[in-house]
């Protein structure tokens, strides 16, 4: 193992670790040599290859989740110095400069069950997509011609929503989304809207709105607008919340007058 060379410049990384969901969390500190253009993932890779803490203890390598390393898959989301973000697009040097500290603090997301260390289980997000029927109900894969036409403006608006990578930043920062409530959060609301706006996707609009009018639905949003500020894909989440709010208002009035 290569211990950091004394002449090399180093910085400290404090990591909140947890052996399993049911286990208590604890902190460990590692010393990592400074390299140019080093993102948090390469820092973690260094620690995986050199799992020795600053107190000289050999420990088990830190566990984390990652995929694309290009900020498109959403896997590597974690809390860096108190703020949720993708760790692959977080450069250590910039982060240190930003906080003005000599160390970086890494924590797992707090709104999801921890699998181990920095690795969390975001299954709830995928389940929510199922809840809001986030799909276009096509007839099947047979050759049935092209889909509905749409204007470039409609495409642009839908494209904005379609970029959601289920990373969970919006939920982590949402004061209304907690581990033990049922709020679906901005991500699922925006996805429901995305499909409500598609010509064929609309066929399930009523069912989506029914779901979103129930417990955990859009009315649970407290309008703090954190979601839109932390979303790495700059998805207009508050606009989605408002639009779904409007659709729900109309839906409720319609239901009131036409329900059997």
């Amino acid at each position: 193992m290569i211990a950091p060379n004394p002449s090399e410049k180093t910085f400290l990384v404090r990591i909140k670790r947890q052996d399993a969901e049911s286990q208590p969390a604890y902190w460990q500190e590692f010393e990592v040599p400074v390299k140019p253009a080093q993102n948090i993932i390469s820092v973690l890779q260094y620690i995986a290859a050199n799992p020795t803490t600053t107190s000289g203890e050999d420990v088990e390598p830190v566990v984390w989740d990652s995929g694309c390393l290009e900020e498109v898959c959403g896997a590597c989301t974690m809390v860096v110095d108190g703020q949720v973000r993708q760790s692959c697009s977080c450069l250590a040097n910039e982060q240190l400069a930003k906080t003005g500290k000599d160390h970086i603090e890494l924590e797992p997301m707090t709104k999801f069950p921890v699998v181990r260390d920095l690795f969390v289980d975001r299954q709830r997000m995928f389940d929510n997509l199922k809840k809001v029927k986030a799909w276009v109900p096509i007839d099947g894969t047979h050759d049935l011609g092209p889909g509905p036409k749409e204007t470039p403006e409609q495409q642009e608006e839908r494209y904005a929503y379609s970029r959601c990578m289920t990373c969970g930043c919006c939920l982590e920062a949402c004061p209304q989304f907690t581990k033990d409530n049922t709020f679906v959060g901005a991500q699922a609301i925006a996805q429901a809207l995305y499909f409500n706006q598609h010509e064929t996707g609309k066929k399930l609009k009523g069912e989506r709105l029914d779901e979103l009018s129930g417990p955990g639905g859009v009315a649970d949003c407290g309008n703090s607008q954190n979601c839109v500020k932390v979303c790495p894909k700059e998805i207009p989440l508050t606009q989605a919340i408002a639009k779904v709010g409007r659709q729900l208002t109309v839906h409720a009035v319609k239901n009131f007058f036409s329900a059997k």
């Binding site: 140019p36 995929g67 181990r116 276009v136 049935l144 379609s162």
Partner: protein
């Protein structure tokens, strides 16, 4: 888990795996889907450029599906089989329509039609795209459809599960898999009447590539060790301009050069001055010097090789494998035009390319080779699909729809789809053809899988998986448990991450852009050494819960095996074809090598056995692949558009 018959397992939730799920579930066969990551995070999200298909506009300008096939064949330097490519090109427009119906936000014209862009390898606009994230959009659309089947109970997802080994019956038919939950480390045998491998590429063998960290090729390597052959494993595509990073190489679009970016290195080795302090005369604009005509716009493969060579000679910036791609001199307007790609560079390097020249280097980008597969060529005699009123195709024009042989490996019941399938791209893949081949595999050949599963239990197809004795599954389960136990208990001295790093460095140096016998023989030695060291692993995490250390160490063993096959096939193919460039054999040699390198794992020696399998050319005769040298002259625009081609 309900053990119904028939059942299908799909390993991999990228475009290929998800398309297969949708098609197979639609055919009424329940699917168990395995993926190391939640399928929505599969590597397919990374694709940016687009997806190719003939379309009405191009057709009216003289383009056709036939031509799309022809481009794919010549792009692949005729190492691809023609009937499957024919089928893929002709099926492509239907795929686009289907994706459109699924709600993919394809870019639109003002009339509301799907917009098209020009891409490398064609003079016609045939590439459909959704913003700058086509792969992501396509993957999500298929993910959504899969979720729909999941909600109906027809698809069962096993996410964060790693495929470990295919289960085969006495006669060697694939009847299930062994897989492990990467969180709880629970290992289990799963029964199936057919298994689809859609596990993607193997870039991680090269340490750093443009691929995701999960693209380690281990799944394919395990099938290879279990008896499924590899096809053309030596065919690896390298992208000329990537941003080397500590953790991976990220694609840098070629439009930077298209817009006037200049490639250079300091004349003096290890010059540690700031690039902008190095005066003009001390800079080596090696592309412009060697190719005064085209300068920085030389075709991709030449640029790739030149950059590679200059660094091999020790002139790389800071003595490392990197050269400058300089756009600092360009006018502000041009810089603005390049904003999107410049921001990517800035985000991941922290340097502003408007102020400081970018550092780039070629990087491994795509795995053309993969699991060897078969197909049933189209035969008008047996065709029951074409309506009586329509004319039938000629023989070999495409594949027999639904035939269980389509894209089945040499192991009965084991299929390979997507990037892990060697079938479509021959010696080079055209930009925007990969997404197509992945979805095509799933949608067209999904039916073949369902049919095979349906037939299992009848005649030559053996006993249905649900009725096979548990002992068969227990045997394979034990094999994997023992393997894992052995790794977990290793108390040697070799750190797996170090071995992996050395593997990557060696493979990148010996078997990427320029291959040469001497260097490859050296690499052969190195691989042997690494295999030896691998038996003496040091495992720092001996826990039994979410042990990534052990999972990685296990996959490393498979990567070493795959690397061996890749290197041996590279050595054996003594010619240059497509991406495979041998400096000692710079010509394409059809007599000897218009053959598939079919690589079988020799269980005794633990090494690859290579046989050469001839490739029939029933539709298009072989011809020289020259367009690479002419496309720049003929159509500079094509070059620029190729930029986005990734």
């Amino acid at each position: 888990m309900p053990e119904t018959h028939p059942r299908v397992i799909v390993v991999g939730g990228g475009l290929a795996g998800l398309a297969a799920c949708v098609r197979i579930a639609e055919a009424g066969t329940p699917v168990d889907l395995f993926s190391m990551v939640p399928v929505k995070r599969s590597h397919s999200v990374c694709a940016q450029g687009g997806i190719n298909a003939c379309n009405d506009v191009a057709r009216q300008q003289g383009y056709s599906e036939w031509q799309h096939m022809d481009e794919t064949l010549i792009g692949g330097d005729f190492l691809n089989h023609q009937p499957p490519v024919y089928e893929m090109a002709h099926f492509a427009p239907k795929i686009i329509n289907l994706l459109d119906r699924m709600g993919v936000p394809f870019n639109r014209t003002s009339e509301g039609m799907r917009d098209l862009r020009l891409f490398g390898g064609s003079l016609f606009k045939r590439t459909h795209f959704a913003g700058a994230s086509t792969g992501q959009q396509l993957l999500y659309a298929l993910d959504e459809q899969t979720r729909r089947y999941e909600a109906q109970g027809k698809v069962n997802k096993y996410e964060f599960w790693e495929f470990l080994w295919p289960v085969t019956d006495e006669e060697g038919r694939c009847k299930g898999i062994i897989a492990q939950d990467m969180r709880t480390m629970e290992m289990k045998a799963f029964r199936a009447d057919a298994v689809v491998m859609a596990s993607g590429g193997n870039g991680l063998i090269y340490g750093k590539s443009t691929m995701s960290v999960i693209c380690n090729g281990a799944a394919a390597a395990r099938c290879y060790q279990a008896g499924a052959d590899l096809g053309n494993p030596e065919m690896i595509q390298v992208h000329p301009t990537a941003i080397p990073g500590e953790d991976k190489c990220r694609l840098m679009s070629e439009s930077a050069r298209g817009e006037g970016g200049r490639v250079w290195v300091p004349r003096q080795q290890n010059d540690d001055r700031h690039p902008l302090d190095i005066p003009e005369e001390e800079r080596n604009y090696f592309l412009e010097e060697k190719y005064p005509g085209y300068g920085n716009l030389v075709p991709r493969d030449i640029a790739t090789r030149e950059i590679f060579w200059v660094c091999q000679e020790g002139y790389g910036v800071g003595g490392e494998n990197q050269v400058y791609l300089d756009i600092t001199h360009l006018p502000q307007a041009t810089k603005n035009k390049l904003a999107a790609i410049l921001e990517i560079y800035e985000k991941f390097t922290g340097d502003d390319p408007r102020e400081v020249p970018m550092k780039i280097f070629p990087a491994v980008h795509y795995t053309m080779g993969g699991l060897y597969t078969t197909y049933a060529p189209y035969d008008p005699e047996t065709d029951t699909i074409t309506p009586a009123s329509a004319p039938k195709r000629e023989p070999n024009q495409g594949m027999a729809f639904g035939d269980p042989k389509n894209m089945m490996t040499n192991v009965s019941g084991l299929y390979a789809f997507g990037e892990s399938n060697y079938a479509y791209h021959g010696a080079t893949r055209l930009g925007a053809n990969a997404l197509l081949s992945c979805i095509f595999d799933g949608l067209f050949n999904g039916l073949s899988v369902a049919n095979h599963a349906q037939q299992s239990g009848a005649g030559a197809h053996g006993t249905p998986a649900a009725e096979l004795p548990q002992s068969l599954y227990d045997k394979f389960l034990k094999q994997e448990q023992d393997k894992l136990a052995k790794i977990t208990a290793s108390t040697g001295s070799q750190d797996p991450y170090t071995i992996h790093r050395e593997l990557g460095v060696e493979m990148t140096a010996a078997a990427t852009v320029v291959k040469e016998e001497g260097r490859m023989l050296q690499a052969r030695e190195k691989l042997a050494e690494l295999r030896e060291r691998y038996t003496d692993l040091k495992i720092s995490d001996t826990g039994h819960y979410t042990n990534q250390n052990v999972s990685f160490a296990r996959a490393l063993g498979d990567m070493l095996v795959y690397a061996d096959a890749l290197l041996e096939a590279s050595l054996a193919r003594k010619e240059s074809r497509g991406s495979h460039y041998r400096s000692d054999y710079p010509e394409r040699m059809d007599e000897e090598f218009h053959n598939t390198s079919r690589v079988a794992f020799n269980a005794e020696s633990g090494r690859p056995d290579i046989t050469w399998e001839p490739i029939p050319s029933p539709l298009v005769p072989l011809r020289a692949r020259t367009y690479g040298k002419t496309d720049v002259v003929e159509d500079k625009k094509t070059q620029e558009q190729e930029a986005a081609a990734s």
